[in-house]
């Protein structure tokens, strides 16, 4: 099967406008006769559900949390990009487009990214109109800050809680539609299968997590906005419940899975503290605006710090290695995430790590505090040479900007980051890969759409900071609501889809059997036991740096672990009622398949690009070595029963507007 990305023809700047002008629409009276299921209520799913309901469709929205407001988009901290050029620093739609393609290491689709850049400005207008309290300057206008991988300030933010504010905006739009009865909300429901009728997505099987009932829900189209699969690593910045089940189930029903190996390891997370750790906490990338990253210059100092004989504040400027500023003078601490993460790993592998396990570097705010303090002293006409005063004023500014993050850090680590540098280390954060979609955001299953992090489309091999929120909302507010109409236009006479069709009966039976199997398995180990093992394999062999040997081992190990899991997992309780272990078992079962495909994809991609770093393919000074000749394509995998049997389909990436060059942030 050849992949048709359905990218419209014409100059890139006009593609989206022309396309919108010519696609089919469904008239308002007919929208009432069409049902759409949206799975997931984060920025993408929530905004899509609200917008589709506004348009007049009957929406059924599903989330496994107890409220749509709790989707993990809520945890995004730093900000959202938009090419508004409010700062007058030369930003434009093209620059945002260019930065995103380059940031993604030239592995994203030009047309999708340009569309994203085009609608980015609308998102800000929309959110402000909804009452999202974005940060403002004293003049009353919106403030921007800069983020990694760009040379302009285009990031809108709400302190360190931008994702929360944007999600609550989408949630409020949903609330309005729920109140009007246009969205029927199914909280604490998990989608466990997709139902195809005559080759089209026509419904889902979902489990009510409170009662345990298995329910059939029909619709004319199914939209998956269930997020990424970072939890395949067990430890990640994702929420505990974040899972790939919806995305994986549609993959098993025929949706191709693209670029699973593109995973973002975020450079600024709180390091692991022990075996009991259940998740990792992100410290916003925005901290790199003001924080300087360093390790000791000498191995002796690093060792002394690890053993507690020295404190970071004991080291003079000369004894510190600000390695990002040293290696990448033009971007410094604001290099893209993949570059910053690898650089941290490189230093720690070389023995310069600064916590007990040697897996941490410093993020230091001392000079920012002094810089801000001096400015404040100057503004207030106070003595700029009074060190105590300057420090006090500087701390106040830093607190205003990052207070909640600093507090979060202190609660977890029990150290005061105003006094001593933070310790950070990279952690799994975001998955650029996901279900393959065409320009309409439709998967290879007709009528099944995938939006936000759960699709693969816009970030290539590496996502720039503050772009995930942009993409989620762009897909949900401004792209899908148009493109889905084109698909649904012929469906206006179809009428309600019956849930008594044999396809529903069959799908429900399969789900029930899988659940029963877990309940009756009577194994020895808990679900977490297997999940942790999977995570360790993934982190050690499919993590920040990969090689052919490790990946080959990982594939075998994961396959073996999967067998062991099915033979030996223990799920207490019953099918009836609230059973969190059963929920986890279903999710981990899917991770155990996805993880293998992930490794297989990483093994096949014989190049280094973005978040995918193969040790065999690097330049002499340790930078990623891309192979545009052979790998400038999207790897879309077709399910064939076992991950090892998955069939590769290639969608060539054509670059007409951006010249492929070696990505340099030096």
């Amino acid at each position: 099967m050849a992949l048709d990305s359905k990218i419209p023809s014409g100059p890139i700047a006009d593609k989206w406008t022309n396309y919108k002008n010519h696609i089919n629409l469904v008239n308002p009276a007919n929208k009432r006769n069409i049902d759409i299921i949206v799975v997931g209520t984060g920025l993408a799913g929530g905004s899509a559900a609200a917008t589709l309901a506004e348009l007049g469709y009957n929406v059924k929205a599903f989330c496994f949390q107890d409220s749509p407001r709790r989707a993990h988009s809520i945890a995004a901290q730093g900000g959202i990009n938009a090419a508004k050029n409010y700062m007058g620093d030369g930003d434009s739609t093209f620059r945002l487009f260019y930065d995103t393609v380059k940031g993604g290491d030239y592995r994203a689709r030009e047309a999708n990214v340009h569309r994203l850049a085009e609608v980015s400005a609308n998102i800000i207008d929309q959110c402000v109109a909804q009452g999202v309290p974005l940060a403002r300057e004293y003049g009353g206008l919106l403030d921007n800050r800069s983020f990694g991988g760009t040379l302009v300030s285009r990031t809108f933010y709400a302190k360190g809680q931008t994702g929360q504010q944007l999600l609550l905006g989408a949630y409020s739009a949903m609330n309005r539609q729920i109140g009007r009865g246009k969205i029927k909300m199914y909280n604490r429901h998990e989608m466990l299968d997709l139902v195809l009728v005559n080759g089209k997505a026509r419904g889902i099987i979902a489990r009510n997590l409170i009662t345990g009932e298995i329910e059939r829900h029909s619709a004319h189209a199914v939209v998956i906005g269930s997020g990424g699969y970072g939890n395949v690593f067990f430890l990640s910045t994702n929420a505990m419940g974040s899972n790939a089940t919806a995305a994986w189930k549609i993959h098993k029903k025929g949706a191709f899975f693209a670029n699973p190996c593109y995973t973002q390891i975020h450079p600024t997370c709180i390091p692991v503290s022990g075996d009991h750790q259940s998740k990792l906490t992100l410290m916003s990338e925005s901290l790199r605006n003001d924080g300087r990253i360093w390790v000791p210059k000498s191995l002796e100092d690093a060792q002394a710090i690890r053993e507690g004989r020295k404190k970071p504040t004991d080291l003079s400027e000369e004894e510190r290695d600000y390695y990002l500023e040293r290696r990448y003078p033009s971007f410094g601490n604001l290099v893209p995430r993949d570059v910053a993460s690898r650089a941290a790993k490189e230093r720690c592998d070389a023995g310069f790590g600064v916590n007990r396990t040697g897996e941490a570097v410093y993020l230091d705010f001392a000079s920012a505090i002094q810089r801000y303090g001096k400015t404040q002293a100057h503004i207030k006409g106070l003595d700029e040479n009074d060190k105590a005063l300057v420090t006090k004023l500087g701390k106040a500014v830093v607190e205003e900007k990052y207070g909640n993050l600093f507090q979060m850090y202190e609660k977890i680590v029990d150290q005061n980051p105003y006094e001593t540098p933070m310790m950070i280390y990279p952690a799994v954060h975001y998955t650029m890969g996901g279900t393959w979609v065409d320009y309409n955001l439709m998967t290879t299953i007709p009528g099944c759409f995938s939006i936000g992090e759960s699709n693969f489309s816009d970030h290539g091999a590496n996502r720039l900071g503050a772009s995930a929120l942009m993409q989620g909302l762009a897909d949900g507010y401004f792209v899908l609501p148009y493109t889905i109409g084109d698909y649904l236009a012929p469906d206006i006479k179809t009428g309600t889809i019956s849930t008594d069709l044999p396809e529903f009966v069959e799908a429900e039976k399969n789900v029930r059997e899988q659940l029963e199997k877990f309940i009756n398995n009577n194994g020895k180990h808990s679900v977490d036991h297997f999940h942790k093992k999977l995570g360790k394999i993934m982190w050690d062999k499919v993590g920040m740096a990969r090689n052919a040997q490790g990946l080959t081992e990982a594939i075998a190990e994961i396959a073996a672990l999967r067998e062991e899991f099915y033979a030996d997992v223990k799920v207490p309780g019953s099918m009836v009622g609230f059973n969190q272990e059963l929920e986890k078992a279903m999710r981990v079962a899917d991770f155990l398949e996805l993880g293998e495909l992930f490794a297989k994809d990483a093994l096949h991609r014989n190049e280094s690009c973005g978040g995918h770093f193969r040790e065999e393919y690097q330049t002499e000074d340790g930078e990623a070595l891309r192979d545009d000749q052979n790998f400038a394509y999207v790897a879309a995998w077709e399910y064939k029963g076992k991950p090892s049997d998955a069939v590769l389909h290639k969608e060539p990436l054509v670059f007409e507007n951006v010249k492929l060059v070696t990505r340099s942030y030096k």
């Binding site: 949390q65 107890d66 609308n122 999202v132 309290p133 974005l134």
Partner: protein
Amino acid sequence: MKLTLKIWRQKNAADKGQIVDYPIDGVSPDMSFLEMLDVLNEQLINRGEDPVAFDHDCREGICGMCSLFINGEAHGPDRGVTTCQLHMRMFKDGDTIFIEPFRAKAFPVIKDLVVDRSSFDRIQHAGGFISINTSGRTIDANTIPIPKHDADRAFDAATCIGCGACVASCKNSSAMLFVSAKVSQFALLPQGKVEATDRVLNMVNQMDAEGFGNCTNTGACEVECPKGISLENIARMNREYLSASIK
């Protein structure tokens, strides 16, 4: 650390429920409270017992999913944190810790420590929004300057995570802090003023219909709120409601 946990166990909504004692050993002070419960659950599963059900998701204090009434306080004895951010270093070796669900008529127990907070959602359905459609053709975001002070206060109100600690801490199970945070966010912004009258009336009516108690200004909610939502918001809602009522 060695601890005795006194945990509320309740099979389902219809079950009566009771406190059950669980001794636990080998707790590290660096663990979060929920990680400590993970350890307990792992032990329970291995012993063939039913693990303790509790709500949690992001484990970084922002999703508002985790709850728990720990030693008589919502989200435990620490201030400005959710249960997932509470660390065991707040407790001493040998401590006895009571762990109960958030209790209110409007928060019925689903199982063990898991409660149903959909009443909060229904209050938001009643008016927690600004009625504009998604068009991308609203006015430019910078058309209306908003004083930074107002924007910041609206943001402070908007940081509510909807966890329900205010209700759980309030001796009256009142939801005023939660409702007032949303009312305040919109009342402070020009965008929200248009629908201010109906919003506050509808949301308060729904709040009352859900069976929450009344506010008697004890201030417990503000103290226990993990996000430090201020009582000023309740006063603002009182003003908004009063002026809406006499319109």
